[in-house]
Symmetry: C2
Subunit: 332 residues, 2 copies
């Protein structure tokens, strides 16, 4: 387990953060930036092994990778930790735990077991944060598909499903804490509310996190999922005040949607998102941690990992990094 339990990137010669999980004071004159704050999520180079992804990330100049569990499991968590360290990188997070919406006892028990395994993997690779995608409605037959013909009214009950997520977080938070890992709730775009995640806004994620300490449950700000939210500025600021921003993830909303909408994400700058504004909000909330690029896109997956890593870092430096540095913006 890394000492870096807050997901904060090493500062450019700045003094250390005042305390675990504490954001930089909003009055700080500057915030560190630079390529070492950039993290490459392994899903962006989906077909690369962990070693290949780390090699591409290190060569491009990234400071971190955000591995998925499949790439960790295929080498084992201890070996994964070595691969990441040998590349001169750290793990900014581990994707992903969650899937907490089952109604039946067996489904609930299976979710708890699976998340315990994920906490162990995160701790072993030194990832301070385990990203949680909480799952869709029990009515779902499969992600991207229609409801089960035998679904009962309770399987479409979104209010009750969201309440179950709160119950499972109460079960899991103490276990996460034992492992020294923070549960990080990821609100997903409402396009995925039925089949992938019933957490749909940053505000809702913060409400679900509220009963727990900031070191136990944090949130992700992923531009793809939250860019459209009229309450985004207010909720990003709240997330900073409540010391819960565990990760800032970036990729763009592109149109037309891909035939599999999950894979409709674009390189930063290719779509509709105003990264300057959102990045300033994240900066002004005091976030000084890694900026992870996670893109699901068949065309990008077909490109050589080194090429993708270079493009991702170049887009980060063009569209995101300039707005993470400097004094907090006086206006919006």
């Amino acid at each position: 387990m890394s000492e870096n339990t807050t997901g904060e990137a090493p500062a450019d010669g700045a003094t250390a953060a005042e305390g675990a999980g504490a954001p930089a004071a909003p009055s700080s004159p500057t915030f560190p930036t630079g390529p070492h704050r950039a993290s490459l999520n392994t899903a962006t180079v989906k077909h690369a092994t962990l070693a290949e992804a780390c090699e591409a990330a290190a060569a491009a100049g990234f400071g971190a990778v955000g591995p998925w569990r499949d790439r960790v499991q295929e080498v084992g968590a201890a070996e994964a930790a070595k691969i990441i360290a040998d590349a001169g990188l750290v793990a900014s997070s581990l994707c992903r735990g969650g899937f907490l919406t089952a109604r039946d006892d067996a489904g609930i028990a299976a979710a708890l077991d699976e998340n315990k395994r994920a906490f162990e993997e995160a701790a072993t690779i030194g990832a301070p944060e385990l990203i949680f995608v909480v799952g869709g409605l029990p009515a779902m037959s499969a992600p991207g598909a229609g409801p089960r013909p035998d679904a009962e009214p309770a399987d479409r009950d979104l209010v009750a499903t969201r309440a179950r997520v709160a119950d499972r977080l109460a079960d899991l938070a103490p276990i996460a804490r034992e492992h020294g890992v923070r549960i990080v709730l990821e609100p997903l775009h409402p396009i995925f509310a039925a089949d992938r995640a019933v957490i749909s806004t940053l505000g809702q994620a913060l409400d679900l996190a509220a009963p727990f300490a900031p070191e136990e449950v944090g949130v992700v700000v992923d531009t793809y999922h939250v860019w459209w939210d009229p309450a985004l500025r207010e909720q990003v600021a709240r997330a900073g005040r409540e010391r819960r921003i565990a990760s800032y993830q970036v990729c763009d909303w592109i149109l037309p949607l891909a035939p599999e909408p999950l894979n409709s994400r674009g390189h930063v700058g290719d779509g509709y998102i105003d990264f300057a504004t959102v990045s300033r909000w994240v900066r002004d909330a005091g976030y000084t941690g890694f900026v992870e690029t996670e893109i699901f896109n068949e065309e990008i997956w077909a490109a050589p990992p080194a090429e993708t890593a270079a493009t991702v870092l170049s887009r980060y430096e063009q569209y995101v990094a300039p707005h993470l540095t400097g004094a907090p913006h006086p206006g919006r």
Copy 2:
């Protein structure tokens, strides 16, 4: 212009609403329901003329139709009014005005002119409400397509775009009032935030409506667009208190999405939405008006209008109507 300026359906022998725009008091022991509260939006039978749509709606037992402007314009508004009345129906709303997000003077002037024409049409056909879809980011090249290559940063500025919507509403509200027509803001699902409507939640629509009288600017609660919203119960109740619910529209969220995501809507009951819960919230908010079914779906469009009208009414009676009647639900 009908006297029915609130969009309320005629009550089943109940006394008339207490005043223009006033919802039934939440303490009313019962709310009227029945097929006459159902309205068929003409987009649900896209290939039918207005006369064909009205014939199908009347034969099935609907009390109203919700015409689109194309179907009104092809016969002229005066003739459209006659067609609707001769079928024994009323117009529950007119779709659609809006498209208020232009940055340039010519675009702004064109939007004001076009909406004036729409107010005239609504008044002529006796539609008390003109549904507004406010438009997407100026960066958009076309609905469903990517950004213009020459888009400037301001064309992706969602905050400024939303502020322009507020400015245009201030221009248009007095004109709508002169025509005896209410502007009705429709929040669209966030999947459409880039290219179709920058109003993404019911709460945001209510915030935009707040500077105006309830008789001037209302909101639509469309299940397809808002079902996922963690704040939905609270915002529906607020919409009732603020006397702004102008229309309750229903159709289902189905998966997989259609190749053109706009046309991914399903018959009520075929997808993931919990109509019982949302309908009770709408009832408890005091809404006693029409329930309009608006479905965009290539397969449904290919069916005979009479068949579609019968299915829509049957689904309304199975999944929606039972939850609109009776005493307000004591629980959620």
